[in-house]
């Protein structure tokens, strides 16, 4: 049952993703890509619960590593996207 429910969510999100991105102008392709890339760091959410189990086992270490890597992805991704977008200006502004 859970499998079907999660797959249902997957299906809806994929269609939503296509609709959202379809009309993005070429000018914004790079920021879009790096902004989406930052979102893919959402793995961080899965990683924190694994890194905090308190058991000094392999899963704990893997989780801690995942937290660090996903944080680089999230923090770096959002900041670099913001840096790029701050440069985009309209004529006369």
């Amino acid at each position: 049952m859970i499998a079907a429910f999660l797959t249902f969510i997957l299906m809806l999100s994929i269609f939503l993703g296509f609709e959202l991105i379809n009309k993005v102008p070429a000018t914004l392709h790079t920021p879009l890509m790096s902004g989406a890339n930052a979102i893919s760091g959402i793995t961080l959410v899965g990683a924190v619960s694994l890194a905090g189990t308190g058991q000094q086992d392999l899963a704990n270490w893997l989780g801690a590593g995942a937290v660090a890597l996903a944080t680089i992805n999230v923090v770096g991704g959002y900041l670099v996207t913001d840096r790029m977008l701050a440069m985009f200006k309209k004529k006369g502004s």
Partner: protein
């Protein structure tokens, strides 16, 4: 508490969707990115409230280390190095998903969960090493050319077969960790093998595809740890990456499989001898033509990025506008090494984005343009794509610079472009070649205007 966390995830998903929507227009994009970042913050704070978490020191350590590296990298990276930076971030996201999938293994898992664990390891692993290779090619720390060797397809097929076999064995016998290690190792290897046969100018496709993979890896990890927000956010990223990939392939008139497997641009291509002669022009003569022009189009390519010429290009644009000319830029979708590469560089140089025209907008008005200046672009302006049926790039949509009254081509030497194809543009009657480093040549033109 658990309910509260789940509702926080709903809020965060809504913020991601809203943020991505606002990323679709230059006027709202920056706010969109901010909204999406807030969505991420909400999700992470909610995740930290999870009652399964009994100690925080490793989480805090991971976030501090990752945060510091992320801030430093984002601050220090030069705009010209953006493609490799994006590739690298992508790779870290993939590796994180691999680790999450692996860590989710402890405890009795159902077959469905085991399958999703394998998927997150597989996709995450390929994304990681694939992105590292892409990073190496983009930063030129390894050669940017396509690497091909005899029997490559056979080796790749064997790796895939090995991955499938060991993945199945892992799902049947999860207690035997040997299978898991084989899946991890083969996935990492496969990422390398998948990206090495792809040459430099096809990188826009590879980056978009890896971007998509990193989302799908997060999505698979979401299934592995039973978390909705990972699935929603991951599949949004997966879908956006696939769309970009499609746009890039269409802009090259090639199928995805052709880009991924053909090793395009690695061999010497046989083409018909081009008639006509090369006509070089001096900066001074070029200046006289530009001074008389009332409409100018500038078409940049990867060469502009290499020469870091975007700032002098902007100076030239200002001089031309002061002189009364209308100046626009024509941007090919695959110009440069990532989607939208030229736009970012020109934005850095303060060129307003409404003067950056897409190929389909500039082509219809090419006939009315007095001078078209091609800066470090080659294949994307090659008229052979329209005229020479035997050409490997025949059918690829190009910017029709040869239809302008005069074309200046700024070029270092007569070497052919990435595709290894002769460019008949250089031999046309209305084409003049301005040889030399793009930055120097343009500075020369700007100086002429100053005198």
């Amino acid at each position: 508490m658990d309910n509260l966390i789940q509702f926080a995830y709903v809020v965060s998903a809504a913020l991601f969707i809203l943020g991505l929507k606002k990323l679709g227009s230059p006027a709202t994009a920056r706010r969109g990115n901010m909204i999406s970042a807030i969505g991420m913050l909400v999700a992470v704070v909610a995740a930290l409230l999870d009652q399964g978490i009994v100690e925080y020191q490793w989480i805090v350590a991971g976030i501090l280390v990752g945060g510091a590296v992320g801030v430093a990298a984002a601050r220090l990276v030069k705009m010209t190095s953006m493609p490799e930076m994006v590739a690298l971030f992508n790779g870290f996201g993939g590796m994180a998903s691999l680790l999450v999938g692996w860590a989710a293994l402890s405890g009795g898992a159902s077959t469905f969960t085991l399958v999703t664990i394998v998927l997150s390891i597989l996709i995450g692993g390929m994304t990681f090493t694939g992105s590292l290779i892409a990073y190496g090619k983009l930063s030129e720390t390894i050669g940017s050319g396509a690497v091909l060797f005899p029997g490559q397809q056979v080796v790749n097929s064997l790796i895939v077969a090995g991955i499938v076999g060991s993945a199945v064995m892992f799902c049947i016998e999860p207690s035997n960790h040997l299978w898991l290690y084989i899946v991890v190792a083969l996935s990492l290897w496969f990422g390398i093998m998948a990206v090495i046969p792809i040459g430099g100018a096809d990188m826009p496709v590879v980056i978009s595809l890896l971007n998509s993979y990193s989302g799908l890896a997060a999505c698979a990890a979401g299934f592995a740890v039973n978390n909705n927000i990972l699935i929603v956010a991951g599949s949004l990223v997966g879908a956006s990456g696939i769309i970009l990939t499609q746009i890039m392939c269409k802009a090259m008139n090639r199928s995805l499989s052709n880009v991924l497997f053909s090793g395009f641009g690695s061999g010497k291509v046989e083409t018909a001898k081009v008639e006509g002669e090369i006509k070089p022009i001096s900066a001074e003569d070029a200046f006289y033509v530009l001074e008389a022009a009332s409409s100018v189009a500038i078409v940049p390519g990867y060469g502009m990025a290499v020469a870091q010429a975007q700032h002098v290009v902007k100076e030239l644009m200002e001089e031309l506008e002061k002189n009364g000319a209308e100046v626009n830029f024509g941007i090919h979708p695959v110009a440069g090494r990532m989607p939208g590469h030229m736009n970012v560089l020109l934005a850095e140089a303060d060129v307003p984005y409404d003067q950056l025209l897409e190929m389909d907008d500039i082509n219809p008005r090419m006939e009315t343009i007095d001078v078209c200046i091609v800066i470090g672009a080659n294949d994307v302006v090659n008229p052979a794509a329209r005229e020479v049926e035997s050409s490997p790039i025949y059918g690829m949509p190009v910017i029709n610079v040869d239809k302008a009254r005069t074309v200046f081509v700024l070029k270092r030497s007569m070497a052919s472009g990435f595709a290894g194809i002769e460019n008949p543009l250089f031999y046309k009657d209305n084409t003049r070649m301005l040889f030399g480093d793009a930055k120097e040549s343009i500075s020369g033109l700007v100086r002429e205007f100053g005198d």
